[in-house]
Assembly symmetry: C2
Homo-oligomer: 597 residues x 2
């Protein structure tokens, strides 16, 4: 398992100078590795994305040379990343684990002392905790008794022979639902001494005589800047979820084209079967184009030397995608498991193991509920920015445009023949986002400014509204970027095929929220019923293209690893293998239909 | 693991005479065993419910004495049940595994020969296949070259030392997503000879000279009668799913009442947290009362000597409950896993293992999609029965009452103040069922009688409609039976508490389908928004009673087995244990609030 990280890390090292396309290439590599084995992908993410990302983005060039290149690129060391604390602990700004600056140590050199003062301050769920040699640890930086907020330090954990660094204790957290290949543990630091030079000092440094300085004044902003630098790692999580969806959709779809007897009805012909599977295939395509576009945005920003912390819309987009994609993954894998019956419960078909491996994504590296709130904080900032300081004037001005919106769009509600149009779907999703944004702003304004409610109480009583808005925003983004990809497609046949799946994705998103559209008189009851018919029709019409799309995912059989998809598996000779099918439905040998997926 | 089945089987044996309350008691025992360990519960289900149920219900008193009492009740033997065939095989009426009657064997006695003629005829996913001594096997009965349809035979598989019966091969199907304690395998029979007396002969017997006779003329009816006898086992599956829900809700709820610091906001106070958890708690209560009532119906029927095969409504109810409850289980466990964050992913908290164990329920012992079709077949039969032979007249007559229905109920749509009323919710659910039933009948009639479509094609093009109707029916049933239980509750405090949860269950069911109600003008947009507010309000208001209800599930700590619920677990000392909480929120030591759950 060392050889893959080595190659990737070399690649990473070469492009520390941020060559064009670095993020997009990294995401491609992440997808491939996760298709082969999710635990390897996650371990890689910890080593290169989290530890590596911390050193590269939060460290000085000297620190990158000293702490990244020899540690990560050599692949002689495993590394880990310690952010998560005790589950019920307060937020990072009041974290308990701490670094004390100790200017005159016994050894005559300046040091930091890292210490875990109480149980709540233990670092939990740390990937590579039982194998890692170095850890990038976030903790309060305390100088002369004053906290400067969380900072990141590289702490030695154990040497290459596995001997623990003095004062560090690692406890195995043992068995999990999945990701059995990842060693998660608890790290406890008992007055551990580390050199002063191990504080990653891009956003805050300490001089030899103990003076703290930072380019950013507010502690909160400083920590946010550090988190922003890890945005690419968060996008990688969306790619990991998407990789699992591609593998499982590619596993389940061919099976639905049985049974083999010519005179029997194929499983895929059952209305419920194609209705359950096809929207997930469309969502997988939408995620493919969305992540590629988002990685491109990141590449552009980094190429232009832009720091990610100033690009809040991009951070919000990545947070929202993380939540949307990991839930889409859970829903997709569960449906595929059910649509393949008892075979989907058998380990040899890989569906259950990928289901268990990827289940953690919804809560790790930022719980999805928190991610959605990140999205909405940005949407609210954008919204209030329009109105300068007069919130009330803004609300009134906006109320007018809201009314005209409703008038314009309720007309659409009647012209049911337009529903099949992609523009109709895009408009519907944008409308929902806009109305939810406006009404949330108005509700918060009324609660906080008028009724003088505390912020937490006001925000909390709108939390259902908040999460609806965040998802509405991300739904719109995925459809927009899918539509853009369709538009840019140069091959006619491919464009026609993708258009159908794009329509299906949009129809499925609108169908899910049709109650909201009816409540807002955006749809007439007739239009809503039409949306359902359209969903059924589109699912039926794309099902015959499903094998083409799956073949274009181009996942090597060694990654599919499932007898039910017709891939031979040593050690599972007794498993169910479908008989070779007619050439038009042969899995994984299909002529590629679309140019690049 | 032998001691538990032994006790249960003795109990079963004593009551073969069908004493009052037998089914309800069996379900209680099933629930308890599944709370402790799902794999043991499933193995027990195979031994007592499936093998035992087959012999008791399909065999003669002599066969019960010979094949059930010494085999199952002694607990010296493991048994299995072979119905499921090759995954893509045709339905049971065209099954390939076969029994040939062989009146003059070498040994001079009448025998059957059981044979697996081809790969498709292998018996797959058989529980206890790697340990079982006897199997109840379903296969085509062929006499003089003519098939009499599927019948059930007791076939020896291996002796008490594990030596295989001549001609029987068992292949381990190895690893699954969950239920690791259950040995599933493939059974293949190569001209296996078994005595004539091992054909369970209640619904079909063969005389020594090879003459077949049966009390039921049509082959299809015969097989349906055999399946009907297994209805109690299907209800047990609902109880198993409910047991998992109770354990996991009891595990996750107390955790949400952290963190321990008095000055911090408890997790349960977050709107999204109580909105995610409370409807599942309400559904768990609804299932508790629904299964108890259904088991009571079965007890009454059996006490009155009624055969279950004639009671199609009961069979449909049990099929629908199986689908509803097992999906409710998947949704509940996933939400609980997410609401407990990383802790819900850790094996020591039992959430992931129960999630993996119970995931198979949605497809085994009858795929949920098939179960829903069983429900609708019965609803359609009931519907057409009203109209004697004139389908068209019936449709027209009914159309009139449909219009008046719509008029009567659209009035309700405006009186939004009535929404909090249980009657409003019950009426709404009944209305949806009735309209879907009527419109499905009309659609099928138009397709089959007027447009002369083939039945499969007509039925298949309505499959989404079919599954919606089936779930609408079961939703109504669960709310009705929950309401009945509330009404019968004698303790005032308990009744008040249960009323709130019953309202929540109904509101949550109606909320899920509010788009449909809006499409049918049953709700005004305002009423629909009111339903959402009511859902939020009810979830908020019941959250403080959640710990009382969970305490009343009265699950022993040894079944909870989760550090996050405050239950000490040997071997997981490093796990997260919540600090003892204030007496009012102490988990599992709560004073019992409701009399009996």
């Amino acid at each position: 398992s060392f050889s893959v990280p080595q190659r990737i890390c070399r690649h990473a090292s070469k492009v520390i100078g941020r060559k064009k396309g670095f993020i997009n290439k990294s995401m491609g590599i992440t997808e491939l590795i996760c298709s082969a084995d999710m635990a390897t992908g996650v371990k890689m993410g910890v080593v290169c994305g989290l530890y590596g990302g911390a050193v590269i983005n939060l460290g000085s060039p000297e620190q990158v040379e000293r702490l990244y290149v020899p540690v990560t690129v050599s692949s002689k060391h495993f590394t880990s990343f310690c952010m998560t604390c005790f589950p019920l602990c307060k937020g990072p700004m009041s974290w308990k684990p701490e670094f004390l600056y100790n200017p005159s140590s016994k050894l005559g050199r300046c040091e930091f002392i890292i210490h875990t003062p109480c149980e709540d301050a233990q670092k939990m769920y740390i990937g590579n905790a039982m194998k890692g040699n170095y850890a990038a640890v976030f903790a309060q930086l305390i100088i002369n008794g004053e906290s400067q907020g969380p900072h990141c330090f590289v702490v030695p954990v154990r040497d290459q022979y596995g001997v623990m660094w003095p004062g560090v204790t690692a406890t195995d957290m043992k068995h999990k639902e999945g990701l059995h290949g990842v060693d998660n543990g608890i790290l406890i630091f008992d007055n551990v001494r580390i050199p002063r030079e191990n504080l990653l000092d891009k956003f805050g440094s300490v001089s030899a005589d103990g003076r703290y300085s930072s380019p950013i004044r507010r502690k909160g902003d400083r920590f946010n800047a550090m988190l922003a630098a890890l945005t690419p790692t968060r996008l990688a999580l969306t790619v990991q979820a998407m990789a699992a969806m591609k593998v499982i959709v590619s596993t389940s779809t061919p099976t639905s084209f049985g049974p083999k007897d010519q005179d029997e009805v194929k499983i895929i012909e059952h209305q419920t079967q194609y209705l359950r599977l096809m929207p997930h295939l469309a969502a997988t395509l939408a995620l493919t184009f969305t992540t590629r576009y988002t990685a491109g945005l990141m590449d552009d920003a980094l190429c232009q030397g832009e720091d990610l912390q100033s690009n809040r819309p991009l951070q919000a987009l990545v947070a929202g995608l993380k939540a949307y994609s990991t839930w889409a993954n859970v829903a997709c894998l569960q449906e595929c498991r059910e649509c393949t019956g008892g075979m989907g419960f058998m380990m040899e078909n890989r569906i259950p193991s990928l289901k268990c491996d990827s289940d953690v994504f919804v809560t790790f590296e930022g719980d999805n509920m928190v991610m959605l709130q990140v999205v909405v904080r940005e949407l609210m900032m954008q919204y209030t920015r329009q109105f300068e300081d007069s919130m009330v004037a803004g609300l009134i001005r906006n109320w007018t445009s809201s009314v005209s919106d409703s008038l314009r769009t309720s007309f659409l509600g009647f012209s049911v023949d337009k529903i099949g149009d992609l523009n109709f779907l895009l408009k519907a999703l944008s409308y929902r986002e806009r109305v939810l944004q406006r009404s949330l702003a108005a509700r918060l304004h009324a609660k906080i400014n008028k009724s003088k409610e505390e912020f937490f109480s006001a925000w909390n009583s709108c939390l259902h509204h908040v999460t609806s808005l965040a998802l509405a925003h991300i739904h719109k983004v995925t459809l927009k970027l899918f539509a853009l990809a369709v538009q840019e497609c140069q091959v006619n046949d491919d464009r026609d095929l993708l258009t159908k799946f794009c329509l299906l994705h949009g129809t499925s998103l609108v169908y899910q929220e049709r109650a909201w559209y009816l409540e807002h008189n955006y749809f007439s009851p007739g239009a809503s019923r039409q949306i359902r018919s359209q969903l059924l029709e589109l699912c039926k019409s794309v099902k015959d293209d499903a094998l083409k799309v799956v073949a274009d995912f181009n996942i090597p059989p060694c990654c599919i690893q499932a007898p039910i998809a017709g891939v031979a598996k040593p050690g599972a000779e007794w498993a169910f293998y479908p008989q070779p099918q007619s050439p038009t439905t042969q899995p994984h040998t299909q002529q590629r239909a679309t140019s690049k997926l």
